[in-house]
Amino acid sequence: MTGVAQSHRKLLTVITESNLERDIVREIETLGVGGYTISDARGRGDQGLRASHWGHSSNIRLEIVCDTPLAERVLARLREKYYEHYAIVMWVVDVEVLRPDKFR
């Protein structure tokens, strides 16, 4: 991966229930996440179809670009807190960023 930009970071993507938004945002901010992006989504997974136009069963798509240690902490925390009872899926990608200072 030769860089068009200067620094390497992790992009953590989380798909989960929209009703968790408030809670999850509070959680990741406590862990030190300073920047994130959220958009609305629908989908299917082990918990079945989550495509209702209704609050009860729609998803959000949360993206966090940060360094590896923080990504690991966030992954661990979300897994521990939500994996058992909620619809949630996470994946991680390597990204290059322009201004590393903006992403811890």
Binding site: E17, N19, D23, G48, S52, H53, W54, G55, H56, E84, H85, Y86
Partner: protein, 312 residues
């Protein structure tokens, strides 16, 4: 015992949903429509309250709280004892049935309007009060008085929930401005009420259809529960209405509230406080059986029962 034509919109939505046809309105419209309904109901109550101040309100409020607690316990023990549900699921379903459905209440209001039957202006207040104890109790039944329960957060969610706030806000506005002050707003909030309710019920039909499928999964007991609890709870509600000395219309609405099952406030609260409970179980029962039963058969039935008791 005739149906109000507004339920035909529910039937249309249900039919479309069963046929997997796409009549769904965007969520933005659903929120708009339900906001208007909540404000209308609150404002109507507030206007009447300004006209004829409520007497003996404190007693009514106490009895309403008591009813909420009683119904939740009753539901819980039936679900545990007969239905053999595990503790979390029994508690979550009980919270739904001890609480109330505002959509059902709105149909009741429209029904009384068509029938020309008046009711106490405090009904929206009783609605709010009946919404709350079941949720708190549901959480307690599931988790006990543990230290870890996020009570602050839960109190916030329930007390500052959209429906509670819009109802109480409407009540206050109606009370403060009075019928005359709200006259210029009547075309939107009062004249359109039933049309807006029709759109809301169309959407509810579609949503109910989505949950119909759940039934094969949860079996006979849940079906019977969702069908038999409403008339049972309605009768208990009528008993309390008598104790409170409500008018005929007030009694019908109060029975309707007792018979109804929450599908907005309770699901949200249970999801965050009792995550191990299966949310589809309660929603299927409340939305796909109890709601249709109440608006199609229940309300006229509760009216008959109330008339039999009141007009003796």
């Amino acid at each position: 015992m005739s149906l109000d034509p507004v339920v035909l919109f529910f039937a249309l939505g249900l039919a479309a949903g069963v046929l997997k046809a796409d009549l769904r309105l965007p969520p933005a419209i659903y929120e708009f429509v339900s906001t208007l309904l909540l404000l209308s109901i609150g404002m109507k109550g507030g206007i009447e309250l300004a006209r004829q101040p409520a007497e003996g309100l404190a007693g009514d409020l106490m009895l309403t709280l008591l009813l909420g607690i009683l119904l939740t316990f009753l539901a819980f023990f039936i679900l545990r004892g007969i239905g053999r549900l595990d503790r979390s699921n029994a508690a979550a379903v009980a919270a739904h049935y001890g609480s109330v459905s505002i959509g059902t209440f709105a149909v009741g209001v429209a029904y009384l309007g068509s029938a020309g039957i008046g009711y106490e202006p405090t009904m929206p207040l009783l609605l709010v009060l009946l919404e709350i104890p079941a949720i708190v109790l549901g959480i307690l039944l599931a988790r006990g008085l543990q230290a870890g329960s996020p009570w602050g957060e839960i109190a916030r969610e329930v007390l500052l929930g959209r429906s509670v706030l819009l109802l109480l806000g409407g009540l206050f506005i109606g009370w403060a401005a009075g019928a005359e002050g709200l006259q210029p707003m009547a075309p939107l909030f009062f004249d359109l009420f039933k049309g807006i309710l029709a759109v809301f019920l169309l959407e509810m039909g579609l949503i109910a259809a989505d949950h119909l499928g759940g039934f094969r999964r949860y079996g006979l007991f849940m079906g019977a529960f969702a069908l038999l609890i409403p008339p049972t709870f309605a009768m208990i509600g009528l008993g309390f209405a008598m104790l409170m000395g409500l008018s005929l219309g007030g009694a019908i609405l109060f029975a309707t509230l007792a018979a109804s099952a929450s599908y907005i406030a309770a699901p949200a609260a249970m999801r965050s406080a009792v995550p191990e409970a299966n949310p589809a179980l309660s929603l299927t029962a409340a939305l796909a059986i109890t709601f249709p039963f109440n608006i199609l058969l229940g309300i006229p039935l509760y009216r008959q029962a109330a008339e039999w008791l009141w007009v003796r």
